[in-house]
């Protein structure tokens, strides 16, 4: 069945004051402020409309929704007329029918009559309205001036703009403004010459359009149309599922024809995205059927051998026998594994279970090691839970938003749209980031304070802000006294009160004017609802965990935890990185963040799993690689991670992988890690399996299978086969059974089941007897740990220092159109926006080195060198350069170092001392790696 959500015409109103009116003789009661159009829709009456849709405010331009109201003159537009008590409204009268038919006749007189061959045929509101109003004739003919020969803009890789079909209803323009917040579209010219224009009469690809798809979704005709629909035709059924890109966790309708996905449309009832999307989730799903997909298992004896395709049975048995051999030779703890933050909760849970129960070790880790592990440590220590405190909707009530080390418009674009909407409503914004990210100044958005600190000085900055709040009497004393450990608070107060933390003293480290820091701190502390949103610019430092604790300190001191509109909110990177952590992927923790050494917890799992578990913590990813080089860690099972591209100091990572005797990679493509693998187990995409993802707001969303698994098995089934071959029995018949086991063993998931997820749409953990419907806001009334714990956060400068040899600081990140290591997005049309990694450099640094925009440059750190194109950017501050790690050829992590967070070993990606110089060739590593890649990717195909 094709899911078609109801369009109520205008947005919902949430007033508690109700209004009763009569529509077509029937009483209806709705919240004050509701439009007559929506009130009618809520009682099941469709008023004809074209320019109205409920994702954007009413506009009142098409006049098709005119109604008659007793006692009033004329025919007001029902979309712009609010309800009033006692109104008597008629939506269908002879007068209205004539009026609407005339309006439609005018529209159609300038519209191609090619409905039968139009790609929107069967899904066109203009076509529908012609039918609804009973249009039978167009008296004006087509000989007069018209737009039928208007040019089609096909520049965007994903959708076309056919101006000949445009009715200039402005739905696209308003969606771009109100839903996305980019303001890339406008109506150019006036009257008959009016036309939708991206930017200053640019084409879509060359404009500021970010291809979120909101305009395409809003378009009531075939003017803005997905190219996949033009090519394939309209879908015939849909499956609601969850996006597999970032940690926002958008709900989508996968729309299909048979087993072919032809469209991904954001789901209006999605509780994280509310019907919005970004270019990745909306359009960049072509990788799922890309020709590079590996769908047959492969093995080889040495990484220099070609791959040989084998049966599933042979591959699984080979992998199991190798792990057994290695454990016999090197000991039980010589093997381990990495769970995937891209796979489902159920799959992640199974991998850690396999490692703990079948391998008998706790050498399990996950990609959160290299991103948000400090979040888990810092928030758990201060508040008692390893997760963010709010839901995304909370931002709608924030009065001040402080964005620290995050670039939401690129990394978490759908949340960014919601945030920008709140900012346009008047919330104040503080941005703490070395770069001038787009949020600092964009259409109708202007940060009150941008504190462009030097990379590596976050803790100095947060201490300086805390100093201001404490010494200027801005602490919420009652809140702290009621909810926090006063001994810890008093110690912290004494600590941050010390003059050495004053903004004036910290300025020499941060490079930020003390006056701005003081003003920003006052602003943060001045309102009831101040919210912190942060990203990897906080965590990926040697003091990542300290900074997380510093932010929690600040929020507690100002009473900003435990209510809507406030909180400390990590913007988590991958789709299920929250879930992978929840599922016990860390070497010291069982599911639900409970330490492996806690006897009662361990015994519970031992009883359920029928094994004895090792009470000692296992190795983290960097420790595994160190141990591999040392010869004590010799085999690894990696599901859905590409540590050879994503982890720091590539040469050290690959040395570790190369030292191992058995590397098993389970993935959808031959990734960079697979270059060092001995067994390749083909994986499945999110479209090919059932399960759940947990997003950054602790929301557990359903993932539903839309197409059959291309390799024949879903990832959870492959893990089961491997476990069974190792001699540890797993017999699940559906992921729901795995979730039932998770719920049984994990107190925060006790109330979670597939049945409840189907009923509720999604659930935010904790969900248990105390919170049967989940927990949108954490720490209401009391902190999970009891009393909030203030931690001392001494600023300790990183050991990675600039100097004469390496005078610049490199900081790395990502951009909107690419995702993580790019394995997915590089295999889509998104390369149109970002075909290669580039180095952003300030004009001053470039001039000093004789570098011009577009020059090829070498970037050299003390551990490695690469080369790429330079882009002179005003976003950078002098002394800081920036690049992304999306492309294999660049291999940005060949430059980043082993420095890491003191508590979690999260790498310090954000601070690498480098030098940049003009270059006309690739680095030695780039040349050698390219040759190596080619050599290791040969495949001997099995006979068909």
């Amino acid at each position: 069945m094709l899911i078609q959500e109801t369009d109520y015409g205008t947005p919902i109103r949430l007033s508690t004051k109700l209004v009763t009116l009569t529509i077509d003789g029937q009483d209806v009661t709705v919240p004050e402020g509701t439009s007559i159009m929506r009130a009618a829709a809520e009682m099941g009456t469709k008023v004809p409309k074209l320019c109205a849709t409920d994702s954007i405010e009413a506009f009142g331009s098409c006049r098709l929704c005119a109604v008659e109201i007793e006692g009033r003159r004329g025919t007001p537009a029902s979309c712009t007329t609010p309800v009033e008590n006692g109104l008597k409204v008629w939506t269908q009268t002879g007068k209205l029918a004539k009026l609407r038919r005339n309006i439609m006749e005018l529209y159609i007189s300038d519209h191609p009559l090619d409905c039968l061959t139009c790609p929107a045929n069967g899904n066109c509101e203009l076509q529908d309205m012609a039918g609804v109003v009973g249009l039978r004739d167009v008296r004006y003919g087509f000989k007069g001036a018209n737009h039928l020969d208007a040019q089609k803009d096909e520049s965007n890789p994903y959708f076309t703009f056919d101006a000949s079909k445009c009715i200039v209803c402005s739905r696209c323009v308003r969606a771009c403004e109100e839903v996305q917040g980019t303001f890339a579209l406008t109506i150019d010219s006036r009257g008959f010459a009016s036309t939708v224009s991206p930017g200053q009469k640019e084409d879509f690809l060359g404009s500021e359009c970010v291809s979120c798809g909101a305009c395409v979704q809003a378009c009531p005709t075939a003017t803005l149309m997905e190219k996949t629909i033009i090519e394939a035709g309209q879908p015939e059924h849909s499956v609601v599922t969850t996006c597999a890109y970032c940690g926002v966790g958008c709900s989508f309708k996968a729309e299909l024809r048979g087993t072919e996905v032809v469209n991904m449309v954001p789901y209006k009832d999605g509780q994280a995205n509310h019907g919005h999307s970004c270019v990745k989730g909306r359009f960049a799903w072509g990788y799922t059927t890309h020709q590079d997909r590996i769908t047959k298992p492969m093995i080889r004896a040495k990484i220099t051998d070609p791959w040989t395709e084998v049966s599933w049975e042979e591959a699984i048995n080979h992998a199991a026998s190798e792990f057994k051999r290695i454990q016999k030779k090197y000991g039980r703890t010589s093997v381990g594994g990495i769970t995937s933050s891209r796979c489902t909760n159920e799959e992640t849970y199974l991998v850690q279970k396999l490692i703990r129960a079948a391998f008998g070790t706790n050498n399990v880790d996950t990609c959160a090691r290299v991103c948000h592990s400090p979040t888990g440590y810092g928030l758990s220590t201060t508040l008692g839970t390893s997760a963010g405190t709010q839901n995304f909707d909370s931002v709608r009530e924030a009065d001040v938003v402080m964005v620290i080390g995050a670039n939401p418009t690129d990394g978490h674009p759908v949340f960014a749209s919601h945030l920008k909407k709140r900012l346009r409503q008047g919330a104040k914004l503080i941005v703490i980031d070395p770069r001038r990210i787009d949020l600092v100044k964009s259409p109708h958005i202007q940060a009150q304070y941008h504190l462009p600190l030097k990379p590596g000085t976050n803790v100095a900055m947060i201490n300086a802000m805390a100093h201001v709040i404490v010494t200027e009497g801005l602490v919420q004393e009652d809140y702290v006294a009621e909810r926090c450990d006063m001994a810890e608070f008093n110690r912290w107060r004494d600590f941050v009160s010390d003059k050495r933390h004053a903004p004036e003293e910290m300025e020499k480290y941060t490079g930020v004017k003390a006056a701005d820091v003081r003003e920003a701190a006052r602003l943060y502390a001045s309102v009831r609802n101040a919210a912190i949103y942060y990203g990897l610019g906080v965590t990926e430092h040697s003091q990542g965990s300290t900074m997380v604790m510093g932010m929690a300190n600040l929020a507690m001191a100002t009473g900003n935890i435990g209510h809507v509109g406030a909180g400390v909110n990590p913007l988590r990177g991958q789709n299920n990185v929250q879930g992978s952590c929840d599922m016990g992927s860390f070497p010291h923790e069982l599911p639900g963040y409970r330490h492996i050494a806690t006897d009662a917890v361990r015994h519970q799992f031992e009883a359920a799993w029928g094994v004895t578990l090792d009470p000692e913590p296992g190795l983290r990813i960097p420790n595994m690689l160190d141990a591999a080089v040392d010869g004590t860690f010799m085999g690894i099972y990696i599901q859905g991670e590409d540590i050879a591209q994503s982890d720091p100091n590539t040469k050290h990572v690959t040395a570790g992988l190369e030292a191992m005797e058995c590397v098993v990679v389970q993935d959808i493509f031959l990734n960079e890690t697979a270059n060092y693998a001995h067994v390749f187990l083909p994986g499945t995409t999110f479209l090919e399996k059932d399960g759940t993802f947990t997003n950054a707001e602790r929301r557990i969303n359903m993932v539903r299978q839309a197409i059959p698994p291309m390799p024949g098995y879903a990832d959870w089934q492959v893990t089961m086969m491997l476990s069974n071959a190792l001699g540890y029995r797993m017999d699940y018949t559906h992921p729901s059974e795995i979730m039932d086991e998770i719920a049984h063993l994990t107190p925060t998931f006790k109330g979670v089941s597939y049945q409840r997820l189907e009923e509720m749409g999604s659930i935010q953990w904790p969900c248990n007897d105390a919170a049967p419907n989940g927990t949108p806001t954490m720490h209401i009334d009391r902190f999970v740990r009891g009393l909030g714990r203030f931690m001392i956060t001494e600023f300790v400068p990183t050991e990675e220092r600039v100097g004469p040899r390496f005078p610049l600081i490199l900081t790395t990140g990502r951009i909107l159109s690419q995702y993580n290591v790019g394995a997915q997005t590089r295999r889509t049309e998104n390369v149109a926006w970002h075909p290669e990694d580039v180095l952003e450099i300030h004009a001053h640094d470039a001039e000093q080195r004789g570098i011009r925009d577009g020059d090829n440059v070498a970037v050299v750190s003390r551990v490695g060198e690469t080369s790429l194109k330079a882009v002179i950017s005003e976003r950078m501050q002098p002394g800081v350069v920036y690049t992304t790690f999306h492309h294999v050829g660049t291999g940005a992590n060949v430059i980043t170092t082993d420095f890491s967070d003191w508590a979690t070993n999260c790498p310090e990606y954000k601070v690498t001392a480098v030098e940049v110089r003009l270059s006309n060739h690739q680095s030695e590593w780039q040349r050698e790696n390219a040759l190596f890649r080619d050599a290791t990717r040969r495949i001997h195909k099995a006979a068909e």
């Binding site: 003091q543 913590p617 160190d626 080089v629």
Partner: protein
């Protein structure tokens, strides 16, 4: 395990706790290493400690000595 790396990790933990009273700092460092380090890492740092503990900052040194005294099995297991 590489001694330099283990020493660096232990010192970083000690740096975090440096502003706490010494007894708490020593306890904090030792608990952290106990809770989060794999046995072979602990064995490596204890071997380094027994060889004189070169490069370890005072709090890290005391924490490891404290750990060796209070959890003698940790320094033996692998």
């Amino acid at each position: 395990m590489n001694n330099d790396r283990l020493v660096s990790m232990a010192n970083q933990i000690a740096d975090f706790f440096q502003s706490y009273p010494e007894a708490e700092a020593v306890e904090g460092v030792s608990v952290h290493i106990h809770k989060f380090w794999d046995p072979r890492m602990r064995q490596g740092i204890f071997a380094h400690l027994n060889a004189g503990g070169a490069g370890l900052k005072p709090i890290a040194l005391k924490a490891l000595q404290h750990l060796a005294e209070t959890q003698p099995n940790l320094s033996k297991s692998a």
